[in-house]
Amino acid sequence: MKIINRIILHNFKRFDSFDTPLNQRLNIFIGDNESGKSSILEAIDIVLSGSRSKVETIGISNLLNKKAILDFFDAGKHYEKLPKIIIEVYLDDSGNADLNGDNNLLGINSDGLSLICEPDIQFSKDIKAVLEQEGKNFPYEFYSISFKTFADRSYSGFNKYFNHILLDNSQISNEYATRSYVKKLFHGNADVANRSVLENKYRSLKQHFQRDILCELNKGLPYQFALQSNSKSNLETDITITEDDIEIENRGKGRQCFIKTDFALNKSKFELDTILLEEPENHLSHNYTLQLIDRIKEAGDKQVIIASHSNMIAARLGLRECIMLNSSGTSSIRLNDINESSSRFFMKAPDNNVLQFVMSPRVVLVEGDAEFILMELFFKRLTNYEPHQRNVHIISAGGKTFKRYLDLARFLDIKVAVITDNDGSYDKYIDHNYSDYASDKWLISADKNDELYTFEVSLYHENKAICDALFGPGRTKLTVLEYMLQNKAECAFRLLEEKANELAIPSYIQEAIAWISD
């Protein structure tokens, strides 16, 4: 069993340099669209498969970091400064000397595999000629592709050191992807000798069919019908996977995704070393996603690397296994330092906005639905911007779970404003309660007046006339405030719909919004 413990990318796609350690078991790359999650899985897939044709199909021009090319031209097109693409996958000690050596960017002794694309020295004259031309003509065509272990042994798709599978659920209807998936799993469950026997039996079955059954049809014909038996028609091309006698291709997309992932995770005779899952939540319903998460959790000690932007996957599989990618930068943040209890909290908490939280540079946390409904309005009125235009996300933490979020924020460069209630004692519930959470990245904002103990009370206090006019008619038993306290979300919604521009905003909320949008 081989385990990847670190990945380094150099000038690969959007990463000019990227370096992250990996966990032994489970790794989830999370991040927004364009943050490079898929590129990382692609890089791992390329280097593990040792497939030149994979690189050639994608094209060096699509793999080489665009900024590296611009920098190269800006720096005056010097031959020796031509950028290289390097992908390095560091492995735990596998006992195989062919993998072990110092030939890596870190210069450390380790097992590992690498891809290097660099100008081919054979063509250095041609490259020089291209560079001497006017304008920005980059000599992609003269790049060599070499797969080497850290011991400097070359490898390829035929003699590779690693057995892995990449499951890309966004490619579910791609026939080629399905074929190569089935083939991979077939190889995983039958060794070469066994496969030869099966192949042979299949061929003789076809011959029987031809001899005993087709012969009727062929009688008296000038030419004979026969079954194909060649590289395009054999056991490996004809084999498929079925569930309840239905071929996998004919199941719904969601079920297909599920079966494929589940089968790959399954223990097979010739164990896959690593499973790469690209957006496994694709096409899956809530329920299926939950089942899939269970399967991933149960998949023994197999190393699984996932790219996802599903809240559910990240939170339920454990935030400590997450590696967060930022779409603006090219750095990654591992959430494995979060304390165990907070990680477990997010695992158990209702499917919430934890990913949105970790991926936003600025967050306003509010207690419940009522605050959430009105906060966007307040923000717009105070700043003249929609929150997302100022990179601010408003998240309803669902009760007093702020500290869990703040535990998370400790490891991230996030500005967080918490808007909360003083519950009747600012001293006790705010000052004292949050004394361990002092930071200039956070602001805990609540009404300083102890009598205004909760959001609705503060709001009513500031907007007595509006509220009385809106909610007063028809009240017999309850006061207006009591009614508001018992129908928080409903009241907030009516205020938003009917009195958006007249509402006075409590000062502690004003402060928080001013601070977060600053």
Partner: protein, 343 residues
Amino acid sequence: MDKRLILAVAGSGKTTHILNQLDEENRHLIVTYTRENIRNLKSGIERKFNFFPGNIKLYSFFEFLYSFCYKPYRARFDKPNGICWDNPDPRRRIPEKNRAHYFTGDGRIFSNRLSKYMFRIGLEEAIISRVEKYFDIFHIDEVQDFGGYDFDFLMHFSALNIRLNWVGDFFQHTYDTSRDANKNKSLHSSLDGYLNRFSEVGITIDQDSLFKSRRCPKAVTDFITEHLGIAIETHKDTIAYVQFVDDPAQIEDIALDNSIIKLFYRNHNEYNCYSSNWGKLKGADHLQDICVVLNKKSLELYKKGKLRESAPLTKNKLYVACSRANGNLYLVPENLLLKFKKP
């Protein structure tokens, strides 16, 4: 930890000895020099196990040095482009600190300076731990061929904390893995001095395990002991003879008999018959009767009974030649074969 150099005589079964040590449990490293030996060992291993077990790694000497020892540490840094088998021009004196002392212009490393280079950049310790990490037993066949800086490297391996099973025949030393100026030049001038180098570094010298030939009949081993002064005994009890032939009719019979190989001092290609050179067939075990062709100088010495006074390398090659015999050994003067010389 058993560290042992077994001194073997020709045909005593060095290859078989190594094969006998192999199993599927320990991780074996086997290094040998000649291509012939690689082939012998490979087929021996496949015969023994019916496949080639993954726990056994068989390397030719330079493949071991270059791919196993050197490249894992320095390939990305030095960007070597293979090995250059020609020696550097001795008239061009390039300081030892320059890359050009070790590499050709196109990036190939000189085979005779690879070991020296690894010493220079201080890879010894790393290589020791690498061998220890991946192997339990280190076999070397044809130890006597290590020369120049390679011998220093070999001595360094005595520090390995794994079992060493090194086998060689001092008198079959007919060439060096590499030579460089005066480095270890007098290494092979005396057996005692040579063995001393090994015992100094804590390697046990074993002269008893493989002192009898399984190949050569008694007549041949007696001839070698008497004429070449190389002690060799035999397990074999088949009857054979050593014959000096100068009858032209018999010489013609021998020359035309393609079951008898004619072994020349050198340039066997100049003759129209089934032939080879003295030292070339080291490791070969398939020859029955053989014919050793004596050149002018050795003929003189033979007649005086002083073959043992031949130049050391010549004597060793002659030893390799004579000890190929599984059967009879014919000695024929080269000048009586002129008839078969190509025009």
